[in-house]
Amino acid sequence: MIEARNINKYFGENHVLRDVSCKFHPGKTNLIIGQSGSGKTVLMKCLVGLFEVDNGQILYDERNFSAMSIDQRKEIRQELGMLFQGAALFDSMNVQENVMFPLNMFTRETMEEKLDRVNFVLKRVNLENINKLMPSELSGGMKKRVAIARAIVMNPKYLFCDEPNSGLDPQTSNVIDLLIQELTYEYGITTIVNTHDMNSVLSIGDSIEFIYQGQIWWSGNKKDILHMGNKELNDFVFGTELTKRLRK
């Protein structure tokens, strides 16, 4: 389990995260939702240590991540995988080299073992026979799936996904969402997904934290979210023309 306890983050005078406390459970897809600029990405970057919190604690299974040195964090970092908004595949490496990179860096496996593992995870994300393609030759959805393969190749305990559907069509978005959910259930991963896509919220939101102006405004799940009386939450949930019509 990952827990944030009273975390605050400032950028100069701008108080971006205000006393944020929340828990993310293993074997569930935990969603952080909110409008653009609400602090979702900052919260995720604080959780993974790309930003330092100004105060508060971040705990990975009771291990105080925020108090650790860079070297101490390496151990936890090898237990986590992350899917970035733009996939963040290494341009100079082909698909196989991208997925194999963490294995090359942190394991002593033979080339054959590493190749088996790479092919296994690529197959798991429904990509086969694309090992030699470069990232520039892949579609948006394929890039995301390769990035997921790279994120899970080391069998992570924690998986972070920052806007996994951005730039994808609704059908491909759905494929990515279901893939993330399947992997979460299959391996019992603590998955945290940052999104403002209501389709994702309603299909994979086992646990949802709604963040508004840097604060946790509402917590719940996909069943509750459509029936709440919270104005800010409803403005977000029913923000599109389609959802407004469906509500009526």
Partner: protein
């Protein structure tokens, strides 16, 4: 006033992360050979072209400026050799490399920064500064002296070719000039400067690339800044090293 000090502090802090033991030796060697190819071997063409013509121009200018019959024509070869070895090859070629290699390093690392590839490395637990910048620094320090020696040789050959074709100085006089009063220390001086300049090019460009924030525009700005600041430091250190080694 505080900004340059703050930038210097950031540079020193980054270098502390760069100069650590690589996490995986095999990957470091792979990267090193790749960078030697990309930063060094890929620059041979431009270095050869500029050196040949530079040497030719120095020789022709020297020959045209020797009016007095009291000055032997072998001075053309002597002057060309001294100019090329002491200044043109180590300094001018390093400035050219600051433009070519420096912008490449800054834009490559800057692009990786703005497309979150560096964040991806950090998330995996990789020391991204060491992984990305250290092989480039080592490759530059190893390959630039090779390029500069090649440049010296081609510069002198260029001067010789210009004299042969223009018939301003006989081949005998030119060769006599380039052998006159040769001191091996000048090569040591030139290579010491080259290593220092290579270090400046790789670390300064790596620094500006690594701290890029924003998008394509900022990558371009980082690249320009890397070239300008590297060139300024090369000129400054040229004076300091010349005073220290020849003064």
């Amino acid at each position: 006033m505080l900004r340059p000090i703050s930038t210097l502090g950031s540079y020193v802090l980054l270098m502390r992360r760069v100069f650590t033991r690589p996490q995986k030796g095999r990957l470091f060697w792979q990267q090193l050979f790749f960078e030697i190819d990309q930063l060094g071997l890929d620059s041979i063409g431009i270095v050869a072209f500029i050196s040949m013509f530079m040497g030719a121009v120095v020789a022709i200018q020297t020959a045209y400026n020797i009016d007095s019959p009291l000055i032997p024509m072998s001075m053309v070869g002597f002057t060309t050799r001294q100019s090329v070895i002491l200044e043109f090859s180590p300094t001018v070629i390093s400035l050219i490399l600051a433009g070519k290699v420096g912008s490449r390093i800054a834009s490559q690392i800057g692009t990786m920064r703005v497309t979150e590839q560096i964040d991806a490395l950090e998330i995996m637990g990789v020391n991204s500064a060491n992984y990305l910048i250290f092989p480039k620094v080592v490759a530059s320090v190893l390959i630039n002296p090779v390029l500069i020696v090649l440049s010296m040789w081609l510069g002198i050959i260029g001067g010789w070719a210009a004299m042969i074709f223009s018939k301003l100085v006989s081949m005998h006089d030119y060769i006599q000039g380039i052998r006159l009063d040769f001191e091996a220390y000048t090569i040591f001086y030139a290579l010491t400067k080259t290593i220092c300049f290579a270090f400046i090019i790789a670390t300064v460009s790596g620094f500006f690339g690594y701290r890029t924030q924003g998008g394509a525009l900022e990558v371009g700005q980082a690249s320009t800044k890397a070239v300008v600041i590297s060139s300024i430091f090369i000129i400054l250190f040229n004076l300091v090293l010349t005073q220290l080694l020849l003064g």
